[in-house]
Symmetry: C2
Subunit: 292 residues, 2 copies
């Protein structure tokens, strides 16, 4: 039996909030939700999904409830999930009323022959599959908007390793402020913002989405591990420093190796991170803490 | 000065048509359009785009004019383009009335801060940028539908190397028959169906889109070249045989190395391919020809 584990993030970038206790609390709750799934024999996919759903429901982060205002004021969310065991993946882009985009992404993975579904087509599936919807008032309130203006952005994500040794990654976002309607970022894209492969690693990335796409960041971390035999932490830092930064961009990621090692580097001042230590304690960091 | 070059494809899969001369003729015309751009000092991006636009306009292939019937009869097209020099990329998904999706993808790359735009948002940009639109009758006719039923599917794509040594890749598709509305395949996704990086290679892939996404196929070819020092042909075959086929899937790709070597392997019975030989002749193949 592998040493099961989980790590989560609430996005990279922006300045640290004056009071980061609510953020840390939310990260701990997400870790606990994932850890509970793992303890109860759930798969890495179930654990990553459970953690991300909790972060989606938390208005402090830019995914699900608590999004980003788009250029025309629309609410658009993207999410992607990948199973390392089967290398199956599911993702949705530009959905607007599904409460938990990561749950819809997981349903696309499990119930359709496709990987990525965008817009109305995705919402029609969510209806057919009886997923929970919310109206736009649920996703954003005046208070959330003020808080957003005062603090940071933040895609959310999770990586998990279950006791059977399988890996999974999940990422969910409300997009980038002022983005063009229909813009799809890295979060739902396999190899960019989300990637998992048993025996290699699982990655959930966040930051400047366009650069993460162009660098195929998550898959490049896996490629360095597979082809160069790099240690996961070194691979993760190498991608951020030598593949993403040269594009004039910044970001961070959480990653889990096949052995359960966790890396969580960022090149930003702020990155919301949470992880379980080997003895089961939940740890969180927000400022420019140790890179990995 | 590098030895400029170009290769194109019209998709993989299905059975070879009884008469493949119209397909070969179209591939030759696409090569000639790309070669002309290169001769006139155009960039690899301009050459790849010119070749793909011609294939989009040709009703024999499943991109632009000549698409695939979706589950609900909608016409949806995806396209992506990437510049190896800058590693900038542009892509659109689920557009329905833009005549040349690859031109819109190129405009996203050149005129926006984003990489991928889906649906209405993409069409609004096309309008703002004065791109050419067509009504649905232009994209499909009864005759095309009959021909489609009788023959093959076929995403289109091109890879090019310009005389300054820069690489580019472009891919465009009308989707997969019977797909769910909003489904996005590998074609517009950086690292899946399209990838270019100077000094490494350019790739345009085609085939079972979901598997190409899950294998991050185009980026994996580049990873084998960069990290393993593999020859391009070997890298391309390795990805199709050992990363895509184990997912129960088939496909093909055209690829160009930084030195101008061309690889064009497929694991399908049919793949429409065209390339320029070193002495400038246009060559085409449709059946299960030499793999690379």
């Amino acid at each position: 039996m592998a040493q099961a584990g989980i790590a989560v993030h609430g996005g990279a970038g922006g300045r640290p909030p004056a009071d980061d206790r609510p953020h840390r609390k939310a990260l701990e709750q997400a870790l606990e939700a994932g850890a509970r799934a793992l303890r109860e024999g759930g798969s890495a996919v179930a654990a990553a999904q459970a953690a991300v759903e909790l972060l989606e429901d938390c208005p402090l982060f830019n995914a699900g409830r608590g999004w980003v205002l788009h250029q025309d004021g629309a609410v658009e969310m993207d999410a992607g999930i990948m199973c390392g065991r089967t290398r199956r993946a599911g993702a949705v882009a530009a959905v607007t009323r599904v409460r938990n985009p990561i749950a819809l992404a997981a349903a696309v993975m499990e119930r359709s022959d496709h990987v990525l579904i965008a817009g109305d087509g995705a919402e029609r599936l969510a209806k057919a599959w009886d997923l929970r919807f919310e109206d736009s008032a649920w996703f954003v309130t005046e208070r959330q908007l003020e808080r957003w203006n005062a603090t940071a952005r933040g895609t959310v994500g999770a990586v998990a390793l279950d006791s059977a040794g399988h890996l999974a990654a999940a990422t969910s976002t409300g997009g980038t402020r002022g983005q063009i309607p229909g813009r799809v970022g890295d979060s739902p894209l396999v190899g960019a913002g989300v990637y998992a492969e048993d025996g290699v690693c699982a990655i959930s990335a966040t930051g400047d989405g366009e650069a993460l796409i162009r660098a195929v960041a998550a898959h490049e971390v896996a490629a360095l591990v597979r082809h160069r035999g790099m240690d996961l932490g070194e691979a993760a830092r190498t991608v951020l420093e030598y593949r993403v930064r040269p594009l004039g961009a910044h970001g961070g990621l959480v990653a889990m190796s096949a052995a359960g090692d966790i890396a969580k580097p960022s090149t930003t001042e702020t990155m919301y991170r949470g992880w379980l230590t080997a003895d089961g304690w939940a740890r969180t960091a927000v400022g420019p803490g140790p890179a990995a």
